[in-house]
Symmetry: C2
Subunit: 346 residues, 2 copies
Amino acid sequence: MTGGVSEPARSQAAKRGRDLAERARAGERRPLARLLTEVEDRTPTGEAALRILYPLAGAAHLVGVTGAPGSGKSTLVAALVGEARRDGRRVAVLAIDPSSPITGGAILGDRVRMQAHAGDRDVFIRSMASRGHAGGLAAATVAAAAVFDAVGFPLVFIETVGTGQAEVEVAAIADTTVVVQAPEMGDEVQAIKAGLLEVADLVVVNKGDRPGAHRAAAQLRAMLTVGRQNDRVAAESGRPRPKRPDVLLATALSGEGVPELLAALDRREAARRAATDDGEVDATRLIRARAQLHGILGERVRARLAEPALEADTALLVRAVADHELDPYAAADRALDLLAGRSRVG
Amino acid sequence: MTGGVSEPARSQAAKRGRDLAERARAGERRPLARLLTEVEDRTPTGEAALRILYPLAGAAHLVGVTGAPGSGKSTLVAALVGEARRDGRRVAVLAIDPSSPITGGAILGDRVRMQAHAGDRDVFIRSMASRGHAGGLAAATVAAAAVFDAVGFPLVFIETVGTGQAEVEVAAIADTTVVVQAPEMGDEVQAIKAGLLEVADLVVVNKGDRPGAHRAAAQLRAMLTVGRQNDRVAAESGRPRPKRPDVLLATALSGEGVPELLAALDRREAARRAATDDGEVDATRLIRARAQLHGILGERVRARLAEPALEADTALLVRAVADHELDPYAAADRALDLLAGRSRVG
């Protein structure tokens, strides 16, 4: 089925994937870390593990937390983790790091702040590079979150630096998306520019003890009521939206407002569950499923074209494109015909 | 053929794409800028234009220039552009910007340095975000470079910040890859870590007037001779490599060593052409063609699944994945069967 992997290698991978999945489900941390790497790298072992784990997932609440650099989102996530731990919940954090050495430094600093939870075996923090994912960042994120979900983390935070389209895409796959704002007006404008407010379920004005924080929250509320920038994006993404995102104040460093934020997240998740139990289609989960399917599809297509039966024909197509005798769109259409033809024979 | 686009919209796009392609070939700058946007966004107009332009491309020398932040690669590219202009050559620069506001600032500074060429109609500088490309960054870069090539730019610089896998991939699609190093030893280590030296055809020690520059160049030469890290990567990528990359010294700010660098680039390109004229397969151009084909294939697959004939079945698959009744790998395999079945009928 999958090109380029021999049968013995395949059964070896299946065995290894099963083993990692079982040990991760038993609460072992190293197999879980290994498993996440395999899933992220889309190895046969990762695929085997995910195929076992995926049907066991679906129960966790995936919370996206994003915001401009300096908004204090990492500190807020750390505070939320602490709050959830007080309830005894196991918590996972998936931190999507831009793979730049410049921003990498900043994120390293953020990680240090999370060290309050370093000794806690019921907290698992995982950094993930934002680039270089064959099937796309969204697919890789969804897969990693499904692993956490299946091995018993009912609450998964997906933290991204809110600076671009990739972050908006990642925000769209979370059940609930929190956009963190610093009280300064400049940040508001930045978030709006990046389309972040448009994917927000909750907006948190962090550093609520600073002068101007209440004013910033009031301005945001007014803007979100009047502007309704949400409507267009919501319609396009097919995602049902609350009439407008709630705006909360919090001070991550002191913890003020954090219990209220976690309670608001829990309420939203309870409402989501009640709606789906009533048979309502969960559009966000459809988006998430589609991201996974699309990510894997591209890989499968490439793998099939690399199989012995199609390899030679594919090489001719690539050669024709390289020689500029065929444009890549025409070549892609012929490659699809090859795939279809092969299925007819086999 | 392509789902989601109606026939009138399609013929409209074809007309518009043809128009933009013709005007860009006639030397008009605005249509060229527009065309690059359409190609980058992979719109039907962009596709139509690229299908016309692609067979006209293949003559340009694509030069990748990469290096760690602070190595001075943008200044070096600006100096190379100036040198090529003295020969009367038209030059295009494709600057791949990480879409982070943090690094964005640095790159804005770089762009300012390029303003020496702002009034020159035979220089075209284009920035491209490094994220959010449906078909992948490599495919988008190759497509944009093909546009420059087809509209009459015989020399195209592709400038990337050399910080990660994405940059290595982009470097691998250039005909010739230049890795820029500052004379400080720290940078050398950084470049090796990122795998950049492994894709280098030429290594330039920039800021050659600084103390230690000659020593750094000598160290690099020794390391590249002894280490031969290149062999493994070259073997894996199937890319033929010169026995080892040349190491040159240059001072981009004063222009010293820049004519020699451009001459070295020209010599390499002449050798490449001679080899392919002798019937040698150009492995780099095959990599480039494959990147394009793969990028478009993923989109085509998604578009076909969205067509009326398959839409309902695809929706069922997505739903099953969303409900965790089917794992995404099994769903992807079923989707491929759908595609194959459809081709059998139609």
